[in-house]
Symmetry: C2
Subunit: 620 residues, 2 copies
């Protein structure tokens, strides 16, 4: 590939780069007093071969859109990644010694605070899913020749999420994707299950339909040949199964247990290792040339304004269906919007988007982690992915959502079938903790539309917002509450019922908002005036409106939600008014529900109109 | 196996049972107006062969300890499971028509509200992990000849969690475990990725080291032979890959798309299907005999009192380490206690338990879903499993925790490395949403010890409590706060500092409790008296003490926690005092943290002693 040097000189150059990267990894972790030098050393030859032979990129512009992509799934080898970018010329080597300090973005595990990191890693087994999203982007959406390389550890290859992405990558014939497993035999606390059984690794990956190559991971010519073979393999993804030694190059710790996540002691111990590594540098004046990204078409397609909703006041539409319709309207307006689903597209109504934009829709089958991970990968490529499944099944991907929050990834998640109001399918299908789990993550916007107009507008708002957004939708059909020109904003709320004599503020969203409106009517008939607020934005929450409303209605709020009692709408309200001495009473689902009819369940769990009336009467 | 009948009569008997189970599945879902009859029909021959040829069990006592175990991982085929138990004589067939009603525990998906269900299913891809726990129990702990059968769908076999358990089962040589994949080709919204590519299925399972058999899933003699082969296969688990047709037996819907999760319309449509199935019944007077469980030793080993903690007041011990020591003491007292970890046992200190009780310790490697699932399986066998990893990595298993809550499984989870106080490793390794995610689940006890004595006692309390418990521990060493005879109870709290002039109640736990105590000292030096409460039980929370304390200290509470702002300790306090008009001010981590030194991070995120002092001064 790089042509001007002889093969020998090239190998020497790569090898020296690897050795220098080992030295920097030892030095920076010793300086920090923590970190994973042995995990860096096992992967150094692989990373050097990728950075200085295989990959095409611009070391001055790591965000070049047609660069090959590199994901360090084994994020604890971060010092090696930083050393590679220093070797490539992007970072100053002196800065490497600021590793893990508050003043430097060279953190313990990579985050996109660094311009050469696309996705945060460090929770193992996630990198491949992001790589699938990137490879899909390049293959199907951008028609880019860029290739994606994902470096995994052997320990992490046990994570189930890896195998979801392995299956999906094969299904999508992602021959622009190459995984590398750094098989150094040793986990954190024990040898791995398969240690150096290379044939066992091969049979797993090949069994899943990948082009699997077993190589000596410290043999640079062998690595070069394997990556060449991967690049020429068509119709399927490739994996380089690299047999390596943890701590390679440092005799005292090489292939030894109990050296995971331990730096060499600053001073003599570290210096001895650095000296040993330095002696491994071979005489050479040549530095391998970094291959430039291919030139090619770019340019973004125009984004139009999204069509307004066009519902009739007499319509009855589930918010999940309105979401599906809105996604089509959004897709027509914005070519960057991509849809993903996990085999429930006929329930989440992403099937509408899939039918309209088959090239921009990715069916992930029953693999929620792979779906969210792919969405994060697509977002890293500048797309605006909307990934949908039942709200309860997003719990499956919570660690991916957590890491997406750390990345402040521009993903949009939709969870349907919220709450007991799904009815007969029973508790395993009811999303009752989704608001809690999403709200817990900093920077995630959490939205909860009650009618189709609001759902439409919040899809629009979600796409316009930069960062992760969650939209909760429900199963049952609901009346239309709002005029098509009603505006909604992230952080807003709408006071639906109010009067000067209001003695209580009722706050709700989703199905319970309709129960609250029914309760309002019943209470009004009995001469009890209450205010009703649609809290369609849970995070951020409309603190001002809540406080003001509570103050003018006797200092009391009643919240009603089809969600478990902790971490949902009620707690969002509580959090907003906590410092004000306002009394808040929560109606929420307080026990594991049972199969039954939706109305029966609202009643049993104390969130029906009747139960709201009862609670309100006690309070006023 | 059953000997009195001829092979032909036996096959006819099993086939007729399968047909009757299909009929009941159609009838009950039509009556309910929802459900998954086609998913029942594809699996009917498999389940009938298991229930009436393969499995040894007592149909009058499904909890018989030496029964073979059956896990319906594809929980949406619940009507088939209910029909099988009716066919076996445990249920009244008339009751099957109460499916999915509030009055019957025959829910849409199986839950342990039914005595023949060990673990709730319905979130796909979880059954095998429970099966691994059961098989481990029988093989290693109870030395029981019982075998475990797990019936999965083909769609769900994409879930990564499945492959975690596949790897673990092979590693543990679980030849008493048999998985069955009902390969009916059709998912909910689309054909599956592999449809009827049986060789692709075989290469995956065999590639992972299982004994894999491909059979026609409606050929009863072939199924019988495969299960016999599985029973005689030694040293590895077996999988029966059964090629089936969705809706088998009902011509109009057999192998047709768009029939997932749809009942036949009550009346003519259903009756036509029932008539067609009825015609498939073959003339026979014989009913296959159900094989009884093997007799064998039983009897529980004696449980002793757990040793008290024996810390010196001058000790400095991390709560994670105290947890590890307590687990050993508990293990000595109670032979039912089992330990599990996910390759961080040298960080969570479960390695102490593993060293002391190697037979009762299960290393799950980097597979948190498989670990929690196996714990649920072990709990279903009467064990008290303690499963530990970093708190942040329990997010990986959140769907498993959700389903464990639905099962009200007797699992105990420990999450270590809570909060920013872990320091340099950075946000990917910090558990900052664990309290939120655990508290959201009904019936989960959430505990948060601050010192080693408390950690010890809460391990004891967790084991004594029936139901899921979560214990949060920290990384840094901490002083000893309590005398070894201090008592702690679930739902309790301890007022550590108080006086008649207290003007504010500060509530904390974990590292922030020590910051609060430092703040107390500083404030005292400035003449400001504040109360300090150790809130070691987050759920349930000590509402009475919180309210009373707040009332006597000016109606204000300041909470401090090394957790994100939503759903943690602060919100637990808020929830407890919400209706009282008490003002609550939360100090918590409000943004994605950065790598740094623990003390720097406590300061930056506003939860250090200094920041508590500042906040307190503003309030009093």
């Amino acid at each position: 590939m790089a042509t001007r040097m002889t093969q020998d000189a090239l190998v020497t150059g790569i090898s020296n780069a690897a050795t220098r990267m080992r030295i920097e990894s030892v030095r920076s972790t010793s300086e920090a007093g923590s970190g994973h030098p042995t995990s860096c050393c096992s992967a150094a030859d692989i990373v050097a071969t990728l950075f200085f032979y295989v990959m095409r990129y611009d070391p001055k512009n790591p965000k070049h859109p047609r660069s090959d992509r590199f994901v360090l799934s084994k994020g604890h080898a971060a010092p090696l990644l930083y050393a590679a970018w220093a070797e490539a010329g992007l970072l100053d080597k002196a800065d490497l010694l600021k590793l893990r300090t508050l003043d430097s973005d060279l953190e313990g595990h990579p985050t996109p605070r660094l311009n050469f990191v696309d996705v945060a890693t460090g929770s193992l087994g996630q990198g491949l899913s992001a790589g699938v999203g990137m490879a899909i982007n390049d293959q199907r959406l951008d028609e880019s020749p860029a290739r994606t390389y994902v470096l995994m550890g052997d320990g992490e290859s046990v994570e189930g999420a890896v195998w979801e992405s392995v299956e999906l990558a094969r299904h999508c014939n992602l021959d622009n994707l190459c995984a590398i497993v750094d098989i150094n035999r040793l986990g954190q606390s024990d040898p791995t299950m398969l240690q150096h059984e290379m044939e066992a690794y091969r049979s797993r990956w090949a069994g899943f339909g990948w082009h699997a190559m077993v190589v000596e991971g410290h043999d640079i010519p062998a690595l070069m040949a394997a990556f060449d073979e991967a690049a020429f393999t068509r119709g399927k993804p490739s994996v380089v199964l690299a047999r390596t030694l943890k701590g390679k190059g440092i005799t005292s710790i090489e292939d030894k247990p109990n050296w995971h996540g331990k730096p060499l002691k600053k001073g003599e111990e570290a210096q001895k290792a650095i000296d040993e590594l330095t002696r491994q540098l071979r005489q050479s004046a040549d530095k391998p040339e970094i291959r430039k990204p291919e030139a090619g078409k770019g340019g973004s397609k125009p984004v139009k304004a999204m069509a307004s909703p066009a519902y009739q006041s007499s319509d009855s539409v589930a918010t999940r269906e309105a979401f599906g319709s809105a996604l089509v309207a959004l897709g027509e307006a914005n070519p960057l919007v991509v849809g993903l689903d996990a085999d429930v597209k006929n329930s989440t109504f992403t099937e509408k988007f899939g039918a309209q934009f088959p090239d921009r829709f990715m069916e992930c089958f029953i693999a929620e982690q792979a779906m969210v991970g792919a969405a994060v990968g697509l977002a890293a490529c500048g797309k605006i992915p909307f990934a949908a499944t039942f709200a309860c099944f997003l719990t499956r991907a919570y660690d991916f959502i957590r890491m997406a929050a750390i990345s402040q990834s521009n993903i949009k998640l939709m969870g349907s079938h919220a709450g007991v109001s799904i009815g007969e399918d029973g508790p395993s299908q009811m999303g009752l903790e989704d608001l809690a789990m999403m709200s817990a993550q900093p920077g995630v916007v959490v939205l909860y539309p009650s009618d189709a107009v609001c759902a439409h507008r919040l899809v629009e708002a979600a796409a316009a917002h930069r960062g992760p957004v969650y939209i909760r939708t429900g199963r049952p059909k609901c009346p239309i509450l709002y005029a098509n020109d009603q505006t909604f904003k992230i952080g807003g709320s709408i006071v639906l019922r109010q009067g000067p004599a209001d003695r209580l503020t009722i706050v709700a969203a989703g199905v319970t908002l309709f129960e609250a409106l029914k309760a309002h009517e019943k209470l009004q008939a009995e001469g009890i005036a209450v205010r009703v607020i649609d809290l369609y934005s849970i995070v951020p929450v409309d603190q001002a409106t809540l406080i003001e409303s509570a103050r003018t209605t006797g200092g009391q709020i009643l919240t009603v939600e089809d969600h478990y009692e902790h971490g949902g709408l009620g707690d969002a309200v509580l959090g907003a008014v906590a410092a004000e001495g306002i009394k808040v009473h929560k109606l929420a689902v307080r026990e594991i529900p049972h199969s039954g009819k939706p109305d029966e369940l609202l009643e049993r769990h104390g969130i029906s109109a009747g139960r709201i009336v009862e609670a309100a009467k006690k309070l006023v």
